[in-house]
Symmetry: C2
Subunit: 424 residues, 2 copies
């Protein structure tokens, strides 16, 4: 018995007993996790740092050992190419990211990249050529933990950002994406995007609890939540701590009322509702002074766009209440929105078929989180495969997906890609 409990799965596609090597996939995941490893079992490979670059270099060594082509575009997206027999056809893409958040896990992003590598290796091992070229893509700076916002590479590829815009994004020290790419040698000569792609598949961990709760190893992602982001500014008045409590307009007390109000909005919309206060900046934030101002990021999200709309209205009312309760002025401004985005209907149906053919229990699922696939969906036929996250935990060092589920996800990817790329 292998570590993954891998066995030949009967299927009726041309791939027959073809499947991935779950042990090899797991080993590569664990090897990658050594780069930027943290004491709690997780990883820190912030986008466009030496750790991120080291992760990419390991992937390139593995790819070169298989004889695949390596390409990089000007925004640093990395392409591993397994040539097809009909180079005139648009390629089939797989991909995700290798960068992590500050205390990230071993699977978020990495599974999609190394799952794609495993697909290519399995085809090599089985001696199967495809008609379309397969491209495995590592998108630049998905997480945006150092250079915010994220999805830099995918948004540049999709044309949402011009190359100049993408390269000009700066981190908190003023270093620009373009400077970091040059310093690391991660920028290539290929133009960014603007070329035909037959299909883009992304395998990813769910980052929520639904697949685990449903007891299925595979989720076919049909589209996204609808999310509305806001910037909240809380305007108190700086004062010495000697100021009596009843005379203060303490922005931190206002922030506390706001954080609890934001949470109540999500709770009141059931288990599919989410509301978040995540990023906060307090000024002047010193021990001797009542806080003058607080800036905060918050958002509401739901699978149903109409409910998201209702939540946004509730959020405005809740912030008004928090302002009255704390006696501190607050301003809530729309910052960004996304969704609902529906993935390509043909690819979604192909994934459902693949799960049935391959014997993987699955359910349809809508993603709460943002992904490179979502950035690409407006311009490419796109779909995603989810596998369970233990306890729904992600962006956490204890993030975990068991080896059998990783293998099931990669098996889904293999057969969907093969169906689309065609046996030679």
């Amino acid at each position: 018995m292998t570590k993954t409990g891998r066995k030949a799965v009967a299927g009726n596609d041309r791939g027959g007993n073809l499947t991935v090597d779950g042990d090899r996939l797991w080993d590569s995941l664990m090897r990658m996790a050594e780069i930027g490893a943290l004491p709690g079992g997780g990883c820190r490979r912030l986008g466009l740092t030496p750790e991120d670059s080291a992760g990419r270099a390991l992937l390139v060594r593995w790819a070169e050992a298989q004889g695949y082509g390596i390409g990089r575009d000007r925004v640093g997206n990395l392409f591993i190419r397994r040539a097809g027999t009909r180079p005139e056809l648009a390629p089939v893409m797989m991909g995700s990211h290798l960068d992590t958040v500050m205390t990230g896990g071993r699977f978020d992003g990495v599974l999609g990249v190394l799952g794609g590598l495993e697909v290519m290796r399995s085809l090599d091992e089985a001696g199967i050529a495809t008609q379309r070229t397969l491209e495995l893509v590592v998108w630049t700076n998905e997480e945006g933990a150092r250079f915010a916002p994220g999805n830099t590479g995918a948004f540049a590829f999709s044309g949402k950002y011009t190359l100049e815009q993408a390269l000009a994004h700066a981190d908190l020290d003023g270093t620009r994406v373009g400077d970091a790419l040059q310093a690391l040698g991660e920028a290539g000569d290929e133009p960014v995007g603007n070329r035909p792609v037959d299909a883009y598949f992304e395998l990813h961990v769910e980052q929520g609890p639904h697949l685990e709760r449903a007891g299925v190893p595979v989720g076919v992602v049909t589209g996204t939540y609808t999310v509305r982001y806001f910037n909240l500014t809380i305007m108190g008045d700086a004062a010495h701590l000697a100021q009596p409590l009843e005379n203060r307009r303490d922005a931190l007390v206002g922030a506390a009322e706001a954080i609890l109000a934001i949470r109540r909005v999500g709770v009141s919309h059931g288990e599919d509702g989410r509301s978040n206060a995540s990023w906060i900046e307090v000024f002047p934030n010193v021990r001797g002074t009542v806080a003058a101002t607080v800036r905060m990021s918050c958002d509401v999200r739901h699978a149903d766009p109409e409910v998201t709309q209702a939540m946004a209205a509730d959020l405005h009312a809740a912030i008004g209440d928090a302002s009255r309760r704390s006696g501190v002025a607050m301003q809530l401004e729309p910052f960004h929105r996304f969704g609902p985005i529906l993935f390509d209907a043909g690819l979604v149906e192909l994934l459902r078929d693949t799960a049935r053919r391959r014997g993987h229990a699955f359910r349809d699922i809508v993603t709460v989180a943002g992904h490179d696939a979502i950035a690409l969906a407006p311009v490419l036929p796109t779909a995603m495969i989810f596998v369970p996250s233990a306890g729904g935990l992600s962006h956490n060092e204890r993030e975990h997906t068991d080896p059998a589920a990783c293998a099931a996800g990669a098996d889904m990817l293999l057969h969907a890609v093969l169906a689309r790329a065609g046996h030679a």
Copy 2:
């Protein structure tokens, strides 16, 4: 009529009609306020920065114009000396600080320094020599806004810190106090402390509303509040925002419950009670991740030490409640305490007498805030004079004390110092 409505005040001390020049004092306050001036009318002269040093240089130019001696000790405390006729006697000190918080006012600290200068100038003008030497001291880094904690110079002088400890304190970039002193040329050759001082008087703005409410221009400070500081650590669990609300242990939600609980402790102990959550640090503090941990500074304070003790017990209970409500573990640890400190009984009585003789309405008051005088009180006979802060506002760009009150405070300082230093 002058700006300050200054008039000769009848008195029965040897100073007779001697008083300060309120206009000159006000002009010097406004000149100093131009250094590090902020758009909202306040100042930023963080301790041991070029702005702080420029403020000191202006004072030194004024002092040199009067022919006073200038000295600096090894921790950068600056001494302006007006020689007495009996140098064998211990000097009488006045002082405060010129450094400010990030968005500080024009009076906090500065009034005590420039009030002291005005005392010396007024004695010059009246042709009065004193037996004891007068020393006006600018204490290094009172606020601690860049190099925390504050009171660096006063604590080094009092022997609470060794010189080595004081010089080793570092800012967030790792720059040490000793390095900053060297870079600015603010360190001198004089040993720190360990010498006799007859008395130390500090004139300061109240930074609270009590004198204004009482309608009196002068407060005789008898001692300090009793304050207990705590560090609060809130231990949630990092998670992707896709995590359902009911599965989260969101440290920021825990912090919100804690901030409101801390405030309730102070409110429940009446108008003399204060409770504060002022400094907060959130990790990882990014838009895409549920907060894993929050660290926070909090304190409780009251004029009555027994009430402070009761408030500390209430705080422990309140944090326990906040932890249960938010489902997030919290740890409250004692960090520091001070008070009650009583100022020197003889000096306090001298200040009350001086107010009566000079015709200044006054009341006794206990300070809620920390001051250089408090750091010095354990080793020197020490007392403080307060003047009103408009609206009780301080550590705020709109901090304001009217010219007549500034002059009244300086007049108090003049006559108390003269009584102690003795006419030659």
